[in-house]
Amino acid sequence: MTITVVKGLDENGQRINSMEFEKLVRKASASATNIVLDTYGQHNIGIRLQKEDGLSITVRGPSGQRLGCMGMPGTSILCEGATSDDVGYLNIGAEITVLGDATNGACNAMANGKVFIGGSIGARGLTMTKWNPQHEKPELWVLGSTGDSFAEFNCGGTAVVCGIDAKNPDNILGYRPCVGMVGGLIYFRGKIDNSFPKTSAKVAEPSDKHWQWLQENISDFLSKIRRDDLLKTLSIRDEWHVLLPITPQERALMFSGPMPMAEFRNNHWIKSLGGDPLRDLAPGLDRSVIDTIVTGDLRRKKPYWANAEAAAPCTYYCPVHIPTVDRLRLIREGKIDEAYEMLLHYTPLPASVCGAVCPNLCMENCSRQGVDDSIDVQILGRSVNHHKAPTIAESLDRKVAVIGGGPAGMNVAWQLALAGIEAHIFEQDEMIGGKLAQVIPWERLSQAIWDQEIQRFLETPNISTSLGFEMSKEKFVELQNEYDYIVIAVGTHAPKTIPFPGHEKVLPALDFLKRAKSNTPIPVGKEVVIIGAGNVGCDVACEAYRLGAKKVTLVDIQKPLAFGKEKEAAEGLGATFQWPVVTDKITDEGLWTKDGELLPAQTVIISIGDVPSLSFLPETVETINVGGADWITTDKAHVTSDAKVLAVGDVERPGLATHALGAGKTAAEYIIADCKGFEWQPFAKEVIPQKALTITHYLPTETGNTEASQADRCLSCGSCRDCHLCETICPTGAISRRELVFDTIAGYHTEHGENYEYISDDQKCIACGFCADTCPCGIWTMTPF
């Protein structure tokens, strides 16, 4: 075996520089497989040296940096002393043995081969190592310890650190090893300071496979560094540990901190706070996590089926609060008789008033107008004409005197009679009906209908009448003694006049109309002027034409207040309106205006309203003077300052016949409640807002002229029409319909006898509000809670 020695000093004892030395080594290796280098601190020894049958290099002198740098497979290097930085740098297969220590950077970026260190190494050992799967993993064996920052970014290197004669026996791997380590394996024996990053590496006990590998390879290492004596010492499995890399997959599963938050909460947070930190401020407060879409009590709103809790516009705006919406529902349900009877419980004059003279405030506000046209309520009113009066309730053994038999007084008597209270009407005229009977032209209120309704009224038990009764203070006192209550319903029968010159030539409208409807009408001239162009003036105009007038002029000092059917009728007959006109005087030629104009007329009628005449009133009943006349003051229940005396109708304030009927019903209800010992409750429902309804479900149609067609067109505002749309739209199936069994639900009462309800299951409902957005009738509402 040839041994070639290469010297690191030249013949003059001068150090050969690393570049020249490398050439010498290279030359020597071409002819020899064993080279001994008497180095003198040359760098990069062993770089890119390889022989097919192997090359063995022994380094005897001081070694420079990067011993075995870029070492090739088959080359072995033995350094008999210590070595400097970066031993095995970028080694790809050489076997390098250093009998002493190695300084910093050992095995940096090594990809293959083995490095055996008989002492310890400095900082940054085994960093950036690689592992090419076509080759063995690189190995670093260290008998002693390592410096700081060991195995940073280690990818493939296997290291064995034995901890014999460690530089720092308390920490044989130095400070913060394994930063960024992604592969490889570190065996170590001895204490470490656990400063390795926990997200890069973990300490474990060697597995059987690990231990077997160590056992198989350690004797070779010990023999290379000539310490076979340590085999036994280093063969105690319990003394060995391994540092393994943490894979990104493992890391992704870890909470980004080293301790799961739940563990921190349970073991530290709650313990340090002694429990829930808000236990004193808010005992029992549940702060546990909930979903965004919730049911039950966690919802912020919940649906409420407010059936019949708000009034439909028809009911609300009708002065009598007739629930037309319910009447139409009964018709839809085929309960025609019940529908009629229900109406008669509100008014004795449905055909005459609802069906004829009333301007139908109910329908002015009908929601159906949003679809096509309002319900034709006159059809409904007229159809009740021939229906018999409802059954009378059991007698309450009370008596009420009603002074005045107009619509207000009639409804008082009617309501009282139906409730079992005797009502006696004292009427000044020879017939009851008040102005409806006395002054409304038969063109607008058919006599046949009227007579039918008066007959039904008069035939009703508990109602009696005294006609041609002149009222006085004395008689009033008598009535007070004889009756439990007195209801004043005398209306307004004193015409208002204006004292301009010639006023004595002027005919009051009230007298004219009363006479016109009698058998002895007052004759009129060809030309008629009517002062006051309201609806009564229009009635006067119509009657004047009927009685032979050819030209009727209505004058007013302001824009005429006439409207509706009355105005249309007057205009239809040719009446003209003129305003502003201030009357200067009346002569036989006619009416002279303040402007000096003559309106020729043979007849001048004044129609500027009527006032009450209350000469019979006792002092206990207070009045208020408005517009030169006294009117009786009442409260909401129409009770006057005398608790047993009530007043209804025009005597309180002028209004429509329907207002009079409404006042009569309210006053009667008060008396009935008082007799029965209940507290009287006024009508208190709010009107349902238009926007609560969903009217787009209805398709426009023709109005039709039957009760059934009106019933079909009704939107059923505020009153469930049992259409199941809510049940259908509910996305969670929370809404269902339930039949009500009255017998088993104690005390349950639903208005007008519906026998069902819709309910929403709190455990299914998510409070989307679709039921409220869909309900055609505005029943479902979302209430915050």
């Binding site: 096509d372 787009t696 479900h697 679709f770």
Partner: protein, 546 residues
Amino acid sequence: MVSARSASVTPGSLAPSDFPWIIEHKEERCTLCGQCTAVCPKGAIHLAHMRKRIPQLEVFSKKRGNDYKTFTGLRQATDPAKSCIGCGMCSMVCPNDAIGPVPGTGENRTVFFDNRKGEPLKRGGRRNVSGPTLLDRIVFNRISMLTDPALDAGRHEFTTTTTLGRILSPEDFLERTINGGWIPPTREIFPFIIGSMSFGALSPNMWLGLLQGVAYCNEVLGIPVVMCTGEGGCPPWVLRSPYLKYIILQIASGYFGWDEIIRAIPEMQCDPAAIEIKYGQGAKPGDGGLLMWFKVSKLIARLRGVPEGVDLPSPPVHQTLYSIEESVMKMIQTLSTAFTHKVPVYPKISASTSAKSVLNNLVRNPYAAGLLIDGIDGGTGAAYNVSMDATGHPIASCIRDCYLDLAAQGKQNEIPIFAAGGIGKNGNVAQNGMALMMLGASGVHIGKYIMQAAAGCLGNEKNRCNVCNVGICPKGITSQNPKLYRRLDPDKVAERVADVFMSINTEMKKIMAPLGRSQSLPVGMSDAIGIGDKAAAERLQIDYVC
């Protein structure tokens, strides 16, 4: 026939396109599941039923008339009170990607009606001015390339803490150490501080989640993060816990919850991190705190010692303080004494041209531990829109002026200045914070960034959401309604807090390493920053780079 219906028009009548956020609903994708309307915090959307008329118009057909067809869709309310806030909860819960808000592209005409009933708009959130801030434009341009020691942010150890508290001059320190004088307390804290957000402004789950995260940062991660309570007191059991040391207790003109704090002093296991005296707030300078009645729940009322369901405005000024001198002397001394001079006490003011006068008073006050200056981009739970958008002073030049003033007196290492207001406004929290530190701040307070990063706050500078004031926060961050705040899991907030501070910590190192700086924060290291705006560079006395 179809009824001739006319919509009545008022001055406030608006079309959907007049709104700042417009709901887009794809009817063909919608399953009508109802989740969007169930979750919408404003009731801004509803199921609409609509009807189509289809006239029969075939000219050769004898049949005439109309067919009608009804259909459904989700539509937005055009009542400004129910206007969509763009939070996008509807799209979050929609299983079919059928609905969501898009920013209105027209003019937002609701602004003309924000003053109904004579009350101008109040809201929560931040200044609605978007785009890069001055801080975003500052670059760290001094890089040590083979000049200084090469530092590796991933490998080297960095000291990323700052000092809160008065630091004595070396002479003074020696003199007092030798003669047994009082050494003012200091704290080594992480320079990104969770700024004052009160228990009340924040929901219990949010507030406690933040504190849990802060505790985790300190005890598990070793990042010494502290948070400020804001002006709403502190739950008594927290005051008596070891976590008090991570809490800066704020005292302000409303004095909410201070009876509980004083009551707890004898039982405290540790001292609080510091005491912050609030004189002003960047979001609404010259205006006081405000907790609107929506949020004064039973719990909040109990902690604050006030009736339930009332508005809680704090006056813009402390009722017993009439001058800078008095503010500084009276308040700082009282609070320093309350904690036996062992807790740093510092004031918080709105950034202003007068900040330097306050600072100069503090320099002369031996008890003052620092100064916190809050700039115009600060956020708030509730303020008048005009205060938020148009009142205040940007933070950068205010901090810079104050720092240079200290430097001129040679006091820049003795009294720390902290900055707040818009740090991380566009997400660049570490960059913004470090830029401010290099301009002279010792640390920064962050509020909105934390709400966004730790709890997913949906607000932005384009008036998205911003309803913190009325307690309807859809994420449960600023609501006092358990039905809303129980959506927020405190554990998840705490985890996100830990995530946030771990990454800020890393980013700080990524900024410090190229400077060749690892062992102290580059406070005032203004030679390391530059900006591509000559006027700003000149004003801030930093490099103009282009």
